[in-house]
């Protein structure tokens, strides 16, 4: 039993819905009680989809339990087939139906529908959303994909499949477009994109491609591995987020396809390298950043932070337990601890402890950062409606790198402005609680009275004067208050560490300046 306030991932059947909703001509019959229909709103509200997810719920009730829930399920399948005329059907159970053990697969098979019916076994009490999506996609591929037609193997231009983009993904829509453009520039044909917009017929053609691109490993890797084993299609799982990773992706893809990568690599294709070198960006140097998200996005972001922004990654974590090992390896490279957890409170505690200057995370971390007055940008699901922008905003490829430069730099103070703030910190316009001028009034959030139930006393983020034996003198507090808010937390932390190490009990202005000198910068 695990106590949860907010969850990073939904149950595995929501992952299945993400696959079904991304596809066309597919219908998913889910044996589930009425409340589970909430999942529709994830797609219609958060992603602003203009169609309902292709899902029928049996919505059985307590009174049905004694009677015949199996019949109810079969009726739902028949009705859904009649009404929607899908070319393939997925059937499965949500957590409650899993307990009543009606065997949706067997029941649907007994109806002998003239289309492929794919039973999904998604253990709700063990697994979560991304795993559910991966497993569903794998079942779909395994059931529908056919071997390639070998006749014209050499006569065509090299081709690949793009695997992994789903409904409710973080910028999947735009990533697909960006990567397709890149592949076209390389002269590589995209055979099928799946599950995004794919029909069962498209899935059947997967085998025709020369290789696969596993764009979102959390979702596509299981299927990609199966295709490799079964149809001898190699796959690439380099996630092309960031300039370096995109360059590597281009080289790897070009090698597999037997084409020349140089036409793409030699053109100046992202503004990020120049923007990062231009002197206004000097202020980005060593900004302390904490990164959390699904494994692929978190790892890509951490690498970009270090090598493309010149940030200092002070922590990295993921809720994707399936990829914990990879994240740990990267964390070691970066010399930090990896935080593998799906407990939001643990992430919050880590952020409070580390006092980063920026958090790159999910919508959950956005809330954490907002409460603590730390700059934040969202890099990964779970998402909210604002993560589906109207503008073309890929994360992947060269344009993706441009988007990320803008997105991550935006919450931070602009270089020149930071400089001015340092000079005029006493001026009324640049008072203590001044926010970056481009961010309007709301960026330094004080804990709202409605948010008083912080798990850890919010004052520990900006601790009160007395901390165990450590206390702050009035003049030290005053000096501290003159330090711009976005470095104040760090200054306080450093000073306290400094004082503790030296057995100083009362922190004075002098201690603060001593600590400043000690820690440099």
């Amino acid at each position: 039993m695990q106590l949860t306030v907010w969850t990073y991932e939904g149950p595995p059947h929501v992952g299945a819905m993400r696959v079904a909703t991304a596809m066309r001509d597919v219908h998913y019959v889910l044996h589930a009680p009425q409340g589970d229909t909430y999942a529709d709103l994830l797609f219609t509200m958060i992603e602003r989809r203009d169609r309902r997810p292709p899902v029928t719920y049996t919505t059985f009730q307590a009174r049905d339990l004694g009677a015949d829930t199996a019949q109810l399920f079969q009726d739902a399948v028949s009705d859904a087939y009649e009404r929607f005329q899908p070319k393939a059907m997925l059937v499965g159970a949500s957590c409650t139906a899993e307990l009543i053990q009606d065997d949706p697969g067997g029941l649907a098979e007994a109806l002998a529908l003239p289309i492929p019916v794919i039973p999904l076994e998604l253990p709700s009490y063990q697994r979560k959303e991304n795993w559910g999506a991966a497993e569903t996609f794998y079942y779909v591929v395994r059931t529908l994909a056919k071997p390639r037609d070998d006749d014209d193997r050499d006569s065509r231009s090299p081709s690949c499949n793009l695997l992994g983009p789903t409904a409710l993904g973080f910028r999947h829509r735009d990533d697909v477009q960006e990567i397709q453009t890149l592949l076209t520039q390389l002269g590589i044909e995209v055979n099928v994109v799946a599950p995004w917009n794919a029909t069962p017929d498209d899935i059947a053609r997967l085998g025709d491609a020369d290789f696969n691109i596993c764009l979102y490993p959390e979702i596509a890797e299981t299927a990609a591995r199966w295709l490799k084993r079964t149809y001898k299609q190699p796959y690439i799982d380099t996630v092309p987020i960031g300039v370096t990773a995109t360059n590597r992706f281009v080289s790897e893809v070009a090698e597999l396809a037997g084409v020349d990568p140089l036409p793409v690599l030699n053109t100046i294709n992202s503004r990020l390298p120049w923007y990062s070198r231009s002197i206004d960006s000097t202020y980005l140097t060593d900004k302390r950043v904490f990164v959390f998200g699904d494994a692929s996005h978190a790892m890509a972001a951490a690498r970009m932070c270090k090598h493309e922004f010149g940030f200092d990654v002070v922590g990295i974590g993921t809720y994707s337990r399936e990829y914990a090992r990879k994240v740990r390896v990267l964390a070691e490279e970066l010399g930090v601890d990896a935080l593998i957890t799906d407990d939001y409170l643990e992430v919050e505690a880590r952020v409070q402890e580390l006092q980063p200057e920026m958090v790159l995370g999910t919508q959950m971390e956005r809330h954490i950062a907002k409460r603590l007055g730390i700059a934040c940008a969202v890099i990964s699901a779970p998402t909210h409606v604002q993560d589906y922008p109207a503008a073309y905003s890929p994360q992947m490829g060269y344009e993706g790198a441009n988007v990320l430069f803008d997105t991550w730099v935006h919450p931070l103070m602009m270089g020149l402005e930071e400089h001015l703030l340092g000079m005029f910190s006493e001026d009324f316009e640049f008072h203590n609680d001044a926010t970056p001028s481009h961010l309007g009034g709301g960026a330094t959030s004080k804990p709202d009275p409605a948010e008083q139930h912080l798990p850890v006393d919010p004052s520990s983020a900006a601790p009160a004067s007395v901390d165990g034996q450590l206390s702050w003198s009035a003049d030290a507090e005053k000096t501290l208050s003159r330090i711009p808010f976005f470095v104040r937390g760090k200054a306080r932390r450093n000073t306290e560490t400094f004082a503790r190490e030296r057995g100083i009990q009362t922190i004075t202005s002098e201690t603060l300046y001593d600590a400043k000198a000690h820690f440099g910068k």
Partner: protein, 424 residues
Amino acid sequence: MNSSSLARSTSSAEARPVIRERGQREVFCGLTGIVWLHRKIQDAFFLVVGSRTCAHLIQSAAGVMIFAEPRFATAIIGERDLAGLADLNDELDREVGKLLARRPDIKLLFLVGSCPSEVIKLDLGRAAERLSKHHMPAVRVLNFSGSGIETTFTQGEDACLASLVPEMTESDERRLLVVGALADIVEDQFRGLFAEIGIDAVDFLPPQHAADLATVGPNTRYLLAQPFLGDTAHALEERGAVRIDAPFPIGVQGTTAWFKAAAAEFGIAEAQVDLVTETRRARAAGALERYREELGGKRIFLFPDSQLEVPLARFVANELDMQLAEVGTPYLHKQHLAAELEALPENTRLSEGQDVERQLDRAREDEPDIIVCGLGLANPLEAEGYTTKWSIELLFTPIHGYEQAADCAELFARPLRRKRRLEV
């Protein structure tokens, strides 16, 4: 407007034909009620014992994660818990212990049952008793079901309030009990109006603090503020309380009739209510005037969701001159809705239960001007060219009473106005 049209009902509405459907329901389960109940009872904590789905539902229904650690959480049952119920009880006790240790502000803890907890027959009633013994007097532990196999959307509130009734102290005092969670601002207005009318002994259920739970007894007269409280009403009656038959305080007419019903019960002349409410009625009616021009003649289709549909339909039909295409409700409580049904225009198409696909077919055939429906249906219908109002907002926005009548009308008017304005 004729307020007598909402006089207390005498004849029955039995004769009205009702479409009864049993197909796919597109409605949340009772767990959703936690989203507003935890704001209402300020020292209560709601611990759902359920699955990851349950946690995800509440998170999604709450929309945004506004609170760092809100007064609700889900104890997610894991694979290992399913292996043995005894261990599951121990686990639950342990988790509750940890929670209460961390949150000393909690005075009342609800264990909220879910589909999984019910299917595996985890006895939360027993668990609540056990935990209560252990944590009293600091914390009282109660339980109710918000499961989707037992409750639909607002019925979670019903189950929660019903679980409070046995906790109410017995009293012979003649008091009025207003039942149903109302926005604080509405509660304040109602309290003030009752006092002006001359009823001072008024309590509200749920209370804002656990310790302020009202008393109950044979002299308690209760007035429902929400139409979905069948079980709570039943529990109150078992304690001797008597229901005051009234429509619901939505719209000027509903609100007036509601206060009059209470006044009559307490031996206060109708004229007194008229006198006290005169300025409010006039102000609200004035505010509705504009909306009647905007909404009059427009056809509205209400999908079943909160059980507020019948009172809302009565309000928009009688006070805003809207036309009713269909009024759907998850359950039609004929007795509690008697006065409401009486006041509905004749030939109103009523439906109870749901088969969402068929209902969508009917809606498309009707081509209403506005469709009131859940969040899963709204955008897809908009994309088909319909104008919609998402129904959960009717629970989250104060709509009861005089001062909120125009706000309620605005909820329907705004989507239509927006549609007219947009040129793209």
